[in-house]
């Protein structure tokens, strides 16, 4: 026969020793062994103690039962946390097969020509240039007259023009933006003009009637050909590589003098080695252009350049046909997704 005091002491001991036993178990086997030893239905220590409950006086059974329950709860809680520490319970939010694909969202894409323009603009921004814009429908004066194209001159042949009326047209280059900026701002002027231009060229693999151009203009006192060459060479080094070689060749555009074209030596990775590729036209702004915009050409001088980002996009992405840039085929555009 056991007394209540003995019974309670025994329950406390089971709780204390059991907890220590459970905490000491570092493997699942050890934990299972502890569980069976303490709570096992046949030989568990607490089970054995509960079997003695009936031998207590009736008035003591309630207190003894409570002690058994408290001990049981303590042991179960300790067991649960020990199990969790050993191996966390399977989580409903954890997929069984982690090799299944993730859930995608649609990815958008910047147009490849815009990517080139962004890159060119980024470099010229580093060199102090800002962005100027203007209309695409222009007067003949802004497109030709102000840019030193003599009326009825063969130089205009290269600019086969789409006309809206006899003296209004779709700009054939972004140079009208230069004229507008020269007329509205006082030097120093350092601008880039990206924009759509139009030529009466029929669509084929290498020509489009509308295409992007990006031009630059720099005007201040004492600006020289050295500034032109050094700035554009620096651009090429940043755009291609520090090792990129450039050369200038004489050329002719009515709005610049001296006029030149810049080639860069590139390897197109087609097994044919390096070669010179024309990347831009440039020159010192013709004094007639400054005068036409009301800027003193004796006091101020400057340089300008123009390039075709579509050509660069075609070359860097190895596009066989310029029409890919216009068709808006999603199977093409998605290749540029970010």
């Amino acid at each position: 026969m056991t007394t209540l005091a003995e019974f309670l002491t025994r329950a406390d001991a089971i709780a204390r020793d059991g907890t220590a036993l459970i905490r000491a178990a570092v493997t699942r086997d050890a934990l299972d062994h502890a569980r069976v030893g303490l709570l096992g239905r046949k030989q568990g220590q607490l089970t054995s103690l509960m079997a003695m409950l009936g031998s207590l006086p009736a008035e003591d059974r309630r207190a003894a039962g409570a002690a058994v329950n408290a001990t049981k709860q303590t042991l179960e809680l300790t067991l649960t946390s020990a199990e969790a520490a050993l191996a966390p319970a399977p989580d409903a939010s954890r997929p069984d097969d982690l090799t299944m694909p993730g859930r995608d969202a649609w990815k958008g894409a910047v147009h490849p020509v815009s990517l080139v323009i962004d890159e060119i603009s980024g470099i010229f921004r580093e060199l102090g240039f800002t962005i100027a814009l203007g209309p695409e429908a222009e007067t003949e004066w802004y497109n030709f007259g102000a840019l030193n194209f003599p009326p009825d001159h063969p130089a205009m042949e290269a600019h086969d023009t789409l006309y809206l009326s006899d003296d209004t047209l779709l700009r054939t280059h972004t140079s009208p933006v230069q004229v507008r900026t020269l007329q509205s701002h006082t030097p120093p002027i350092r601008i880039l003009c990206p924009g759509n231009v139009y030529r009466r060229d029929f669509f084929d693999a290498t020509h489009a009637p509308s295409f992007m151009q990006i031009e630059g203009l720099c005007i201040d006192e004492g600006v020289s050909f050295v500034d032109l060459k050094a700035t554009l060479s620096e651009f090429v080094r940043r755009f291609y590589s520090d090792a990129a070689r450039v050369r200038l060749r004489p050329s002719f555009f009515p709005f610049v003098e001296p006029g030149a074209e810049m080639d860069v030596e590139v390897d197109l990775n087609d097994g044919k080695g390096t070669r010179w590729v024309e990347i831009l036209g440039c020159g010192m702004v013709h004094p007639n252009v400054l005068d036409a915009a009301g800027i003193d050409s004796e006091k101020y001088s400057g340089w300008a350049f123009g390039m075709g980002p579509a050509r660069i996009a075609m070359s860097r992405h190895k596009l066989p046909d310029i029409r890919l840039l216009y068709d808006s085929d999603v199977r093409f555009l998605e290749q540029f997704a970010q």
Binding site: P135, D152, P188, F203, P258, G294, D327
Partner: protein
């Protein structure tokens, strides 16, 4: 311009190879587009190494050799040359190739021994007449290397040079030779002509006249002196028309021209050699042996040399005989007066025509020739007498005959004016100091007369052929290009920042682009032409008659692009463009607006194994996109979407002003395709009015204010818990969600934190025409917890107000 290297050398005797001359001109003068050997007939001949050599068993002069031609297989080749030696390389023609004389090399048996190809002599390759056996090569080149890479300069080469409109003086071999002479410092030579025949022609007296001259029974009369300032005519009698001598034929062919007969070839020689167009008339076919230069009369026709009968356009200058037109001035002669085999007497025309008149004729008649090309750009008028002399001398040299008369009608060109050049300006513009001596040297080498007036003043008189040197900067260009652009310092120098700020539209474009790419749309850059006449802006000369208009809407363009994709079975099309549209205006130019448009078509998300068939885009996607897009475009404005009548869904307003639309996009689409929804916003006008009159500056204050992007103002993070309730309301048909929302907001008071529609239901258990809409309301007091009683009170107020004002009831 196709330039023969050998012909060029006849005017500028130098010792450079063709590629070196090409590079020299490319660096200093004119772009080299291509260089081609005229010996492509031996391009397939390769270096062959004789590895073994043994006498032919059945011959006392033939050898049997084994030849390495780089193919990897040693070939048995029978050779008849006495000098064939093992270990030596020779030119080798493989089987299947054709020799310059047309002999086809085939595998064949020579006295019982198979021969696979041929070792070649100089003569067989037409390199020289020598035939001392096969040509031994002293080269390190591997067997199989093309012979043209080994032999150095063989025969002539053609340089394809891109002459730009400012340099018509380069449109001849002599003109190009002038550059070579100036660049290399070699003196110019007179070319192929003998001085003797030239002197004979020069001895013939000249008959002058201001507008009219007659001699030797021949008359020249200029009626239209504006378009034809000067006309030289030479009369040659007693010529024999026939084939040209080999040297003349080869010259023309080397420059890409074709031999016709000795007289015509002589005129073409002057055209390509000296740059002066010359036309030869059969004198006997000119009525009254007369030339009249005049404007055409109504309805006149001419059968030109190409055999076409042409009605001559009004305003055109024509060359006539006493009766009718015989040539289009500066463009093409007539067939009736052309030189034939029967011709004995010639009238040579060496004339000067004004560029703009020739350009007019060429354009209206749609006829371009070598002559018109040069006249349009400007022919050296001072060189006419010399060209006439040389042409007549060449004809008497190759076709016989005697020059019996020289007529010179009109006025010689004015001598060239001079240009003032300041060496200080040269340095300032080029950025590097250039010594005066060097300036003078360069300009004199180019044929300019240079007088040194003072330390900083040179007087430069350009030669007659340099019509492009008019002002100081033209001369400065000559200095930098002749020195070479490589000489210019590559040195980044200090600069001042500019006064121009970024165009605000550019910043807006970047913001909307970023938003749309982030929402999974592709940027496009299609053409802005359309068949849709909304803009009223029709091109005068459209590229395609079915799309002659400029667009007034970008969604119109995107719809066509979506159709393109649907035709290719692509049903998920999310496109956008930022671009210009064109609208009618009161001014000369259309009103030009920058728009952004975005289109959604197809699945809302990519398919996933958890959702194999995602829903497609609907109007609600377009609505939310429109709001976000408008916020990106107008960051400081209050944005609203106002329901609009079909076919629109909503109008987008910013600060109450309509800035765009949301609509279902109409297009031709297959049945399987989903509906397309589009948003188009007007980002602003791109002004196209003149900034200032020509030649003036507007002196505007600095412009270009970037759009105001308001800073976010911090709201304290709530410390008290929120509380709320849902209302399931039954709405009569005519009651809109917005009506309910007005009442809910008004009656809820300022503690309302969130008001959200979470459900809509129509159908069973609801009266006909009514719908149930669920609203979730959430309240929060900044300083205390709201009590249930307060919420219940509020709920009661809302329900009774809705019932009273809108007939809206709580769903039971």
């Amino acid at each position: 311009m196709i330039v023969s290297h050998a012909w060029l050398r006849s005017f500028a005797p130098h010792d450079k190879a063709a590629h070196a001359i090409g590079e020299l001109l490319n660096d200093h003068t004119v772009t080299l587009d291509g260089l081609e050997s005229l010996r492509n007939d031996i391009a397939h001949i390769v270096v062959g190494l004789v590895v073994e050599q043994a006498p032919h068993p059945d011959s006392d002069h033939l050898s049997i050799t084994k030849v390495d031609d780089g193919s990897g297989t040693l070939l048995d080749v029978v050779c008849g040359a006495p000098n064939v030696t093992a270990g030596v390389k020779y030119p080798f023609a493989r089987t299947g190739s054709t020799m310059p004389d047309g002999l086809k090399i085939e595998k064949r048996k020579i006295r019982g021994q198979t021969s696979n190809g041929m070792l070649c002599s100089s003569r067989e390759l037409k390199l020289s007449g020598d035939h001392d056996g096969i040509l031994a090569l002293t080269t390190d080149a591997a067997p199989g290397t093309p012979i043209l890479q080994v032999l150095g300069e063989v025969g002539d080469s053609q340089l394809n040079l891109d002459v730009l409109p400012n340099r018509p003086d380069l449109l001849s071999h002599r003109g190009m030779a002038r550059e070579v002479s100036a660049l290399l410092g070699v003196p110019l030579a007179s070319g192929d002509l003998s001085a003797a025949s030239r002197d004979t022609v020069a001895a013939t007296p000249v008959t002058h006249g201001a507008t009219h001259a007659t001699t030797d029974g021949v008359t020249v009369h200029i009626d239209d002196t504006t378009s034809c300032p000067r006309y030289l005519a030479l009369v040659i009698r007693g010529v024999t028309v026939g084939p040209s001598p080999d040297w003349l034929r080869e010259r023309l062919e080397s420059a890409g021209s074709r031999s016709i007969n000795n007289v015509v070839d002589a005129t073409n020689y002057i055209l390509l050699g000296l740059g002066q167009p010359v036309h030869a008339f059969d004198l006997s076919r000119l009525a009254d042996q007369t030339i009249v230069v005049r404007k055409t009369r109504d309805g006149e026709t001419l059968v030109t040399l190409d055999g076409a009968e042409r009605t001559i356009a009004a305003g055109t200058t024509v060359i006539c005989d006493a009766a009718r037109p015989v040539a289009l001035a500066g463009v093409m002669g007539g067939r009736d007066s052309e030189v034939t085999d029967a011709t004995t007497d010639l009238l040579l025309e060496v004339a000067c025509f004004e560029p703009r008149f020739v350009r007019h004729v060429r354009r209206v008649m749609g006829l371009s020739t070598d002559a018109s090309y040069r006249y349009e750009r400007g022919v050296d008028a001072a060189a006419m007498p010399d060209a006439a002399l040389q042409c007549a001398a060449l004809i008497t040299q190759v076709a016989g005959g005697t020059v019996t008369a020289r007529l010179d009608v009109g006025t010689p060109a004015d001598p060239r004016g001079s240009v003032k050049l300041r060496p200080s300006r040269v340095t300032k513009l080029l950025g590097d100091p250039v010594p005066v001596d060097e300036i003078v040297h360069i300009l004199r080498a180019l044929g300019c007369a240079v007088d040194v007036i003072s330390d900083d003043q040179l007087q430069v008189t350009p030669p007659s052929w340099r019509q492009d040197l008019l002002i100081e900067v033209d001369v400065i260009e000559e200095i930098v290009r002749m020195r070479g652009f490589d000489m210019v310092s590559d040195e980044l120098r200090a600069f001042r920042p500019g006064t121009v700020r970024d165009h605000p539209m550019h910043l807006t474009e970047l913001r909307v682009r970023e938003l749309l790419v982030g929402r999974g749309l592709y940027e496009t850059r299609p053409m802005p032409f359309t068949k849709n006449s909304t803009s009223g802006m029709r091109l005068q000369n459209p590229l395609a008659d079915d799309e002659p208009f400029l667009r007034a809407s970008i969604l119109d363009t995107l719809a066509r692009r979506a159709e393109y994709n649907l035709n290719r079975m692509e049903g998920d099309v999310r496109l956008f463009e930022v671009g210009h549209v064109f609208l009618p205006s009161d001014g000369r130019l259309p009103r030009e607006e920058v728009h952004v448009a975005a289109m959604l078509l197809g699945k809302r998300r990519p398919a996933h194994f958890t959702e194999p068939d995602p829903p497609v885009f609907d109007a609600w996607d377009a609505k939310s996109l429109a709001i976000d897009l408008a916020r990106a475009a107008f960051p400081d404005a209050s944005i609203a979407l106002v329901p609009a009548d079909a076919p629109l869904l909503w109008r987008v307003t910013a600060h109450g002003r309509v800035v765009g639309v949301v609509q279902r996009v109409v297009m031709d689409k297959p049945v399987w395709a989903a509906d397309a929804f589009g948003v188009e916003l007007d980002l602003g006008v791109m002004p196209s009015v003149d900034v200032a009159p020509a030649g003036t500056h507007a002196h505007l204050a600095v412009t270009g204010t970037p759009p105001h992007v308001p800073h976010v103002l911090y709201r304290p993070i709530p410390a008290m818990p929120a509380a709320g309730f849902d209302l399931a309301l039954v709405l009569p048909a005519e009651v809109r969600a917005a009506d309910v929302e007005v009442v809910l907001r008004r009656e809820s008071g300022e503690l309302l934190e969130l008001l959200q529609v979470f459900d809509e239901y129509r159908g069973e258990h609801l009266p006909e025409g009514k719908r149930s809409v669920g609203w979730r309301l959430q309240f929060r007091h900044p300083e205390r917890t709201l009590r249930d009683k307060e919420l219940e009170g509020r709920r009661g107020k809302l329900v009774s107000a809705l019932q009273r004002e809108l007939g809206v009831t709580v769903r039971g």
